[in-house]
Subunit: 192 residues, 2 copies
């Protein structure tokens, strides 16, 4: 991307539609833990979590789009195309889960939603600061799958488009989920 940007500095700014895998995660139990702690401890742990998650994402070719407290939105396949983005995302999710399980003697678990599909990406901003932005149904779906992990009592839920990149031995069907605003139910899987 940096090289492309040198060749054509406006290329990164151009809105485009692309295929990618979105990973959205949230640390379970963090908020209640945080309530009885000093602000210093809370921020120190958040900082550590963000570091571990970013490392997992980047080591598999992904990009952290945003951290939101103990939450994260990462993209595999944008701003640069990434061959096998679904499989890369799954590998990163496994590292993320392992990293969070080791924090504070296993006090926390991660809830993760993963969805592959089309996205619109581009940069938004005015003047001095531009921000990489991803929008699209794939992002919303990943967010809903993340929320569904609580109901199903599992760590990671993967939509059918991502599941195609997983051997059957690495997934457990959770049936179909009808997400708000969708005509068709989505087959969903827990990561095994």
């Amino acid at each position: 991307v940096i090289d492309d940007a040198h060749a054509d500095p406006t290329a990164l700014l151009k809105p485009r539609k692309t295929e990618a895998t979105v990973v959205i995660s949230d640390v379970r139990g963090f908020t209640s833990w945080a309530e009885s702690r000093d602000p210093e401890d809370v921020l120190a742990l958040i900082s550590r979590v963000q570091g571990e998650l970013a490392r997992a994402v980047m080591s598999h070719g992904g990009t952290v789009d945003k951290f939101l407290g103990d939450g994260m939105l990462a993209v595999f396949g944008a701003p640069e195309p990434l061959r096998g983005h679904a499989a890369c995302a799954i590998a990163a999710v496994r590292d993320m889960l392992a990293a969070v399980r080791q924090l504070e003697g296993g006090k926390f678990k991660l809830g993760v939603g993963v969805c592959s599909g089309s996205l619109v990406t581009g940069c938004i901003g005015s003047g001095t600061r531009l921000e990489f932005t991803v929008v699209g149904d794939t992002v919303n779906t990943a967010s809903r799958l993340q929320a569904l992990t609580k109901e199903h009592g599992v760590e990671a839920i993967v939509g059918e488009t991502t599941a195609a990149a997983l051997p059957e031995s690495e997934r457990t069907s959770l049936g179909e989920a009808t997400l708000r605003g969708k005509e068709r139910a989505l087959r969903i899987y827990a990561l095994r």
Copy 2:
């Protein structure tokens, strides 16, 4: 804040617990509209929405913490304390709702969750880039109230702690909501 930061450049970085009002919003109908549009149009509209929302937030003393596509997280009362942060947030929400209603001939509506309470704020980052971070139950609750606007078919839901800043004529009780992980139900109100 800038002045404080000049006086003591590390003051802004210190984690602290503070009382504030969190506003989380989401543009209803944006994703389905976006699916049939060119990436350029999608990004242009997101950019316009973000500009309008930021203007509403800042004109009432708030700070946009993050945009996430068509979503926004804003804080009133952090990083600087803000007297009457609940009332300021409500005034901003009214401006936000009005601004979004005028986009594209009224095609979109905003869904907004508002919650006042304690937050931990600070800056997280490594080396060259620090990011303002807010965490706490107040953020999670605002997010859940935002999601509840769909079920209740209203534009904005305000938790009981924020509702105290509203005259009774400006709110409609929606009863109590039991949010995940909470012992006590929360009284919630639609903004009238």
